[in-house]
Structures are given as C-alpha cells and as structure tokens.
C-alpha cells in the first residue's frame, strides 16, 4: 500500500516537472536566442550560446524605444488602477449601503455589462471619441479604462463590503465623522485584501491590453505590448534583435510577479471565485 502511494507520488512529480518545463520553455528559447548571433540562431535555435553578444539588446532597446514604451505603460497602468480603486470602492460602498431600488438596478446594470465584449461597441466608440483621443492620447485611454473597469472592480468591492458590519459606519457617524471621512479613514483601510485583488487584476489587464491601445494611441504614447508588436513586425528577420525585444517586453512583469508571487495568486483566486 505504501509503495503504491509512493509510486503515485513519483509519477505525479514527473508529469508535473515535464509540464513545468514545457510551460517555461518558450521563454527559455527567447532568452537563449536573444544573446546569439543571427547565424547561430538559424543553425540551431536550441543550442546554448557559444559566444554571447549584448548587441541585440542594445539595438532592440533603441529601436523599440523601450524606455519610452515602459514609461507610457507604467504611467497609464498606475493612473488607471489608482483611479479605478478610488472610484469603484466609493461606488460599491454607496450601492451596498443604500438599500433602495435605484441602487439595486444600478448594480444589476453593472453586473450585466460585464458580458458585453468590447468588440460589440468598438466601432461607434471610436467614431464618438475621436476628438477626445486626438486631444490627449494617454488621458483618453485612462478615461476609457476607468469606464471599462468600473463594473468588475465595483462588483468585487461590493461583495467584500457586505461582510463589513454596518455598526462600524454608525459608530463613525455618531462620532461626528462626515461620510467621506468615515469611508476613507475607517472603511477603506479595512478593505485592503480586496483592494489588492482589484489592483492586481486591473493592472494585469491594463498592462497587457493591446486592442484598445492599438486603436487609440499615437506613436509617442505607445505602450510596451504595442511597441513590441510593431518592433517585431519590422525586425522579425533580425532574429537576435527580435528575441532581445521580446525578452525586454517580458521582463518587467515577470520580475514583478516573482517578487509579489503570493499576492498575485491569492489576488487572482479571490477575484476569480467571486
């Protein structure tokens, strides 16, 4: 009996390990080839680099305007996520604490809107917002992300707020705190776990989003996925440079993930189950 369990465990381990290697192998391929010369890549993409060249990175760094794209991505993600947290937590608090028909209907509309694919309104959306987009690219994009992100974020906060007893609000208002002060000083700090979830889910979405930036952003405001895509489209035959560009595109988020791994996993699982 014991040996059977032992073998079962060993088999699970082997399957798991093989799968894990398959899952990260494409990234390994990118990194290995990013330091090779074009000729070596064509000869054998699997080989370990015999001589290492950093020239690919230098070329990719300037050609895809890496620093600019990274800054754009950071600015857009940070602003959108922070504003989403502020607005949707307040909205959710209001909707959850106000037991009235309108607030129930507003919540239902928000939930129902999550099924609408962006593609279903993309065309009139662009026609309508062209002037705003040409006025301020990045600002417009942040504005759109708040609009599209409100439903899910509010939904997540709403579920959490209903677990906070209303006695806490009452105590605060008896102590003379205005409703805004009560919310920011007392309720909001209590929602830290769900704020982390909202932040991670929205940050992953906005950081990686491609379609909306592709439709909206001009060259100077390109985000990292956009500039990677365009760079690869132009330099795909320069394999080494293309791989270095991909490595540069992948690195920031992977580093971030390895540092905040626990928060990522627990954040995603909380968000997914709701």
């Amino acid at each position: 009996m014991k040996t059977r369990a032992h073998w079962g465990k060993r088999a699970t381990f082997i399957v798991g390990a093989v799968l894990a290697i398959i899952y990260v192998f494409p990234f390994f391929l990118v990194f290995v080839n990013s330091v090779k010369l074009k000729y070596d890549i064509l000869a054998n993409p699997l080989s370990i680099p015999l001589s290492i060249t950093w020239d690919n990175y230098q070329q990719a760094f300037t050609k895809m305007n890496y620093f600019r794209a990274l800054t754009n991505s950071l600015v857009i993600t940070i602003f959108s996520v922070s504003l989403l947290i502020i607005f949707s937590s307040m909205l959710a608090y209001y909707l959850s604490r106000t037991k009235s028909k309108p607030s129930k209907y507003i919540f239902l509309i928000l939930v129902a809107s999550m099924i609408v694919p962006f593609q279903a309104l993309m065309i009139p959306f662009l026609a309508r917002f062209a002037p705003l987009v040409s006025y301020n690219n990045r600002g417009a994009l942040i504005f759109f992300y708040i609009g599209f992100g409100t439903a899910l974020s509010t939904f997540l906060y709403h579920g959490f707020i209903s677990t906070i007893p209303t006695e806490i609000d009452e105590a605060a208002s008896i102590d003379g705190a205005s409703d805004l002060v009560a919310f920011w000083k007392i309720i909001f700090p209590m929602m830290r776990p769900i704020t982390a979830t909202v932040a991670i889910i929205n940050a992953l979405w906005i950081w990686n989003d491609f379609l909306l930036p592709r439709l909206v952003l001009d060259e100077a405001s390109q985000t990292l996925p956009l500039s990677t895509y365009l760079f690869y489209g132009t330099y795909a035959v320069e394999y080494g440079q293309a791989m270095a560009g991909l490595a540069l595109a992948v690195m920031p988020i992977v580093i971030f993930y390895l540092i905040l791994q626990k928060q990522f996993i627990s954040g995603i699982s909380q968000g997914a189950v709701k």
Binding site: K9, T12, F27, I41, N208, I268
Partner: protein
C-alpha cells in the same frame, strides 16, 4: 403646520441623499455611461441606418444584417470561431484541472510548479503570440529540416488547419494557468472530513475524484467554463500576432474579422452588425452555459 415641517424635513433628507449619491457614485457612473452605455446603445441604432462612420441620413431596416450574412467570409469566420471556442473550452479546462490536481497533491515542489504554470498568463496575448510565431515559423522549421521531420518542415501558420491547432496550443498554454487557480480554489474548499470519510469507506482515488471532489466543486467549473467561453469568443491578441488571419483570411476569429471589416475595408455598417451578432451569440452562449452548470452545483 406640522405637515409643512414634515415636508421640509423630507426635502432636507432627500437633498442630503442626492448629495451623498453624487459624492460617492457620481463620477464613476458618469464615466461608465459615457464610455460603455452610450456607444453600446448607439451601436445598436447604427446597424439599422446607413451610418458610414460620420453621419446617418436614413434608416435601412435589416439591410446591414442581410449584407453581413450574405458575406461568405463571415461564414468562414463564424465556423472557425465556433470550432475554436469549443475545442479551446474543452482543452483549456481539462489541462487546467489536471494542473490543479498536480499542484494540490502532496508534492513538496507544488508551489514551484504552480509558479511555473502561471507564468504565461502574466504576459499579454500579443507578446505570447509573437514568441510562438518565432517558434512555429523559424525555430521548429529549422529543426525539422535539420533532423528531417516531415510534419514540421513547412510552417504550421501557412496552413489553415494546422494554424488552427497552433492557435489552440498557444491558447491552452496561456489560459490554463489562470483556470488552474480557479480549480485550486475549488479543490481546497472541499472539507477534509468528507475526503477522510471516503477514504475510510475504501473509495479509490479515481472514485473519490469523480464522485466526491468534482460534484462538490461544481461551482469552480461554472466559473472556469464561463470565463473560457467568454475569452474564446473575444480572442484577438493571439490571433493577430500568430496568423493575422492568414492565409487568405481563413483563420480570422470574429474579433479580428470585425476589426478588418471596419478599419481596413471601411464597412462600418456591416462591421457593426457583425459586432452586434457577436454580442448576442456571447450573451446567449453564456446564459445557456451558466444555466446548465448551475444545475450540477451541490447545495451545501
């Protein structure tokens, strides 16, 4: 007199209520309405007009819809998308559930494995698609020619059927890590005493899995199936980066098809009616799926 006072009080309260509503809910609801509700309603309206992206001169009834369904390329896309949604739905969930079983076993390395499985999910579809484009177009082809493997000598992305499987492979690889997390949450929510009881009763691990674990975590399946269904219909990034619809617009999923119609060919009317069709299909499919899945959920 008393009545007047009461009326005034009601007014004060309702004014205070309105103020609180504006303070807490005003900004997000206005932005939500401008960004989402208005274009959505607009979009419906436009499909019944001769809208060309700039102005509407007259109503045309169902002409745009008739034109959409008269377009043979749209039918190619619909078939391709349906097939993609079904196959990716099944494979993503089977693989994800398998991964979840591995990382919830008693292995010491389970946390490291989980970290690895989740990595593709962090990175956007375009970047992943481009990585796999290199793999399918260059890496595999060069190895196949070196070691003489017929199946891979020509890039998979040049052939409609093989490109379909390439899309599936990348999608499964990308999404299974996320769905794995959903299934892990389901698996760990099962109470230990239930599992112990089944062990004492002498149930084999396989029986426990199918007769106890899966029914008790049916909610996780509802969620994961819903998410994969939705993302299958909405898939765009991987499609663009991997095949961009080629060869000859035979591998266009519906998102890309709408994009090409509207922004490449300038057919705003038909593009938008295809988008409305897409919305209706997604909504209907999701509704049916959730209703069916809910029936299997066990009340605890």
């Amino acid at each position: 007199m008393i009545l007047l006072k009461a009326e005034k009080e009601v007014q004060v309260i309702s004014a205070r209520k309105t103020k609180k509503f504006l303070k807490f809910a005003g900004i997000p609801l206005v932005i939500f309405t401008i960004v989402l509700v208005v274009p959505f309603v607009n979009g419906f309206y436009y499909t019944f007009t001769d809208w060309d992206g700039f102005e509407v001169t007259k109503l045309v009834g169902f002409k745009n819809y008739a034109d959409s369904f008269a377009d043979p390329k749209f039918w190619v896309t619909l078939r391709f998308t349906a097939l993609f949604v079904v196959v990716s739905l099944v494979l993503v969930n089977v693989v994800a559930f398998g991964l979840a079983l591995i990382v919830t076993s008693k292995l010491r390395s389970r946390n490291i494995l989980r970290t690895f499985f989740f990595v593709p999910n962090l990175i956007g579809g375009v970047v992943l698609g481009v990585i796999w484009q290199f793999i399918f177009n260059s890496a595999i082809v060069s190895l196949a020619n070196k070691y003489d493997v017929e199946l891979f000598k020509e890039s998979w992305l040049q052939d409609t059927n093989k490109a379909f499987w390439a899309l599936i492979i990348v999608t499964v690889w990308q999404s299974s890590g996320y769905m794995m997390i959903v299934y892990i949450t389901g698996l760990v929510s099962i109470e230990n005493d239930v599992l112990e009881a089944s062990q004492i009763d002498g149930a084999s691990p396989l029986r426990t899995l199918f007769l106890i674990k899966i029914p008790l975590m049916a909610q996780a399946f509802t969620i994961a199936l819903f998410l994969t269904l939705r993302s299958g219909f909405m898939a765009y990034d991987v499609n663009v980066a991997l095949t961009d619809g080629g060869p000859f617009r035979t591998t266009e999923l519906i998102s890309l098809h709408i994009f090409q119609d509207a922004f490449l060919e300038g057919d705003f009317g038909t593009g938008q009616s295809k988008a409305v069709v897409m919305f209706l299909v997604v909504a209907l499919a999701a509704l049916v799926q959730v209703t069916i899945s809910k029936r299997y959920e066990v009340q605890r």
